[in-house]
């Protein structure tokens, strides 16, 4: 069975890529160490030389895209179950749309946060770390962090609601009284997306980019 797994093209590709990546890192690291060039590995240089705009926009992009991935995944899981279950039990169609709406809410959180964060991005005129100033760096990193927070929370929230919704649809198809109980589970799942939004708002509350 290992042989069958190895014969799988995906596995070979991923193994190869992972091996190439880690061996590059390892060899570069070893060379830097033995030639006493470790001082050139400078994380502070990286963090101060990369533009705060990159971080801010990465945050905005990740906020919306990861949320949408979560929502899409959830809808895909729930939707296929509703459609499949609805063949034999058409009555479940209307009631189970609420699961789809819970998944969609996650995407709405994402886009709202993305718009809120992108409104904070302003231009500044510095070019060196001293002239850019600490406030702009803080703004860039906060926006990145907020985007990451809301994105990943919504991603997992969406998946969670989707799987629970799928189970709810199929259970409803079997036994109509189960649906309301399962809806409570879905509500708990949906709350975690909201937590992400709240934390992201807190992160960007002190952001002030610009001169």
């Amino acid at each position: 069975m290992l042989l069958e797994w190895m014969m799988d093209g995906h596995a070979i590709l991923y193994t190869g890529l992972t091996l190439a990546f880690w061996s590059t890192i390892l060899i570069v690291g070893i060379c830097y160490t033995i030639f006493d060039l470790g001082f050139r590995f400078d994380v502070a240089w990286f963090l101060t030389e990369t533009s705060p705009f990159m971080w801010a926009n990465l945050g905005i992009g990740l906020a919306i895209s990861l949320s949408v991935v979560g929502a899409a995944w959830g809808i895909y899981i729930t939707g296929s179950s509703i459609i499949g279950g609805g063949v034999k039990a058409p009555r479940i169609k209307t009631k189970n749309l609420v699961s789809i709406i819970f998944c969609e809410a996650v995407a709405i959180y994402g886009i709202i946060m993305a718009i809120v964060i992108s409104n904070m991005a302003e231009s500044f005129s510095g070019t060196t770390p001293e002239t850019i100033g600490a406030r702009n760096y803080q703004a860039g990193y906060s926006m990145f962090g907020a985007g990451l927070t809301v994105g990943f929370s919504n991603l997992f929230c969406g998946i969670c609601v989707g799987i629970v919704g799928s189970g709810a649809a199929l259970a409803d198809a079997q036994n109509a009284s189960l649906f309301v109980k399962i809806l409570i589970v879905e509500i708990f799942g949906s709350a975690i997306g909201l937590f992400g939004v709240i934390v992201a708002i807190l992160q960007t509350s002190k952001v002030k980019m610009g001169d």
Partner: protein
């Protein structure tokens, strides 16, 4: 007649370069016309100049001269390829070489010698074992110093013996390998030992054998002298060139290509400040350009050589003060231990420029961008105060001053008795900030793409309810 339009590089040579001869040597397939030039050996400079300034009759007679010594010969920049050394240049070189004290000079004078002999018989095409000059090569390599003049001008008769006689103040003593053993050398006076070697014109032996025999003779003589522990200088040259190419006027073409190597730029040595005998601070820059507030032109300070008074260096601080005629440029460096990285780093704290005339001073802070571990040197292609500035003006009035150091390398600590820079920590890293930013975003997007692609690629159609033996699905065409 006039001069042709082709350029002469190497302006110190008053003659036209004899480019055709070199070309002939590289293309032996061409018919080589051997004409024994019998130019009047005139010492009249004007007449000589008239003869050789003609582009249609260029003198191509040259004889190589190899010189090696068990003592150290004065250094001379190796002659540029294609440059024909004149007798005056040789005389000017031999004067300091044989100036002080008694010398024993061995002159191996072969009847004829040209560069072609080395090319043909020297095993230069990868067949070293067939070389006819093995002892010569060994002697050149094992000598403490050697000097080669690949093309010494030859104007009818060899002036080498008379030149050496004049420089050494001793008359030549004709010896050969056998009589040398019976000779007792008086090393307190200069001796000129002349050994005549034959060439292969008309002899029964092949050229290679003749040259190999000559080489044997040279080897014997040199080993004899080495055994006697006599310090000698040996010269191997020819009375005439063995192959002479003459571009006589029947060709009547203009020379199109000169093969004279252009002299390369001389590289300045670094500025070294010594403290108690050992070098302490070193600086090198291709140019130190400064621009003052009043003018908009650049002044290159690296062209002048400064005095280094008022420089100081101790274990934590180094200050290099370059005192030029009108300016003073000083570099202040400091080093200390930084606990997070647990090593010593040095920074170029400030660069100060002072104009003597007006007394104005401009000072720039360099500690932000110019740093390196204290054992290493710092090197940057461009250290400037205005474009990707590593030097920041310290106050408002200094902003009108501008500095631009090109190919700048500095070291203020860690030099231990050697005048070489330590490893140069370059200001440019392997990846720039922009490359990192591009790499991060594109790798992130690539990761997302690969993840999505993986998910889609592992979607399969359901085959749980497939029944290969059952009836296949039929879609009726009509209602």
């Amino acid at each position: 007649m006039g001069n042709t339009a082709h350029t002469v590089t190497g302006g110190d040579d008053q003659r036209w370069p004899c480019s055709w001869s070199d070309q002939e040597h590289y293309y032996p397939r061409r018919e080589i016309v051997r004409i024994l030039l019998s130019l009047p050996s005139s010492h009249d400079p004007e007449q000589r100049q008239y003869v050789t300034a003609s582009p249609y009759w260029s003198s191509t007679a040259q004889v190589p001269l190899l010189m090696w010594s068990s003592k150290s010969l004065p250094p001379l920049a190796s002659p540029l390829a294609g440059h024909i050394t004149s007798m005056e240049e040789l005389a000017a070189y031999l004067t300091p070489a044989f100036g002080s004290g008694p010398h024993t000079v061995l002159l191996f004078l072969q009847d004829k010698l040209s560069k072609d002999d080395f090319t043909l018989f020297g095993g230069v095409f990868g067949n070293k074992q067939e070389s006819a000059f093995r002892n010569l090569e060994a002697a050149l390599q094992s000598s403490s110093s050697s000097m080669t003049f690949p093309a010494l001008e030859w104007t009818g008769e060899s002036a080498i013996p008379s030149l050496l006689q004049e420089k050494l103040g001793a008359s030549p003593l004709l010896v050969d390998a056998d009589t040398l053993s019976h000779l007792s050398l008086n090393t307190s006076v200069s001796n000129l030992l002349l050994i005549n070697l034959p060439y292969c014109s008309g002899s029964l032996k092949s050229c290679k054998e003749v040259l190999s025999d000559n080489d044997e003779v040279m080897g014997k003589v040199l080993s004899f002298l080495k055994a006697k522990d006599v310090s000698y200088t040996a010269i191997y040259t020819g009375l005439q060139p063995s192959q002479v190419i003459s571009r006589s006027s029947l060709l009547n073409q203009q020379v199109g290509r000169t093969l004279l190597q252009a002299p390369g730029a001389v590289v300045r040595p670094p500025i070294i400040y010594n403290m108690s005998g050992a070098p302490c601070i070193m600086l090198w820059a291709q140019s130190l350009l400064i621009s003052l507030p009043s003018s908009s032109e650049w002044i290159d300070l690296a062209a002048e050589s400064p005095s280094l008074s008022r420089s100081m260096c101790n274990s934590t601080n180094s200050m290099l003060v370059l005192n030029f005629v009108n300016y003073t440029l000083s570099f202040a460096m400091s080093q200390r231990f930084y606990p997070v990285s647990a090593r010593n780093w040095f920074t170029l704290d400030s660069v100060q420029l002072q104009v003597h005339q007006t007394g104005q001073t401009g000072s720039f802070i360099g500690s932000r961008g110019i740093y390196a571990p204290a054992e290493y040197s710092f090197r940057c292609q461009s250290v400037s105060s205005f474009r990707d500035a590593l030097l920041i003006p310290s106050n408002q009035n200094t902003t009108q001053w501008r500095l631009n150091f090109i190919d700048f390398q500095i070291q203020g600590f860690g030099l231990s008795n050697s005048t070489n820079f330590s490893y140069a920590s370059d200001c440019a890293g392997f990846f720039t900030a922009g490359i990192w930013m591009g790499l991060i975003t594109s790798l992130l997007m690539l990761l997302i793409f690969v993840y999505g692609l993986h998910m889609i690629m592992q979607l399969n159609t359901m085959d749980r309810f497939d029944d290969p033996k059952g009836p296949s699905i039929s879609v009726p065409q009509s209602e």
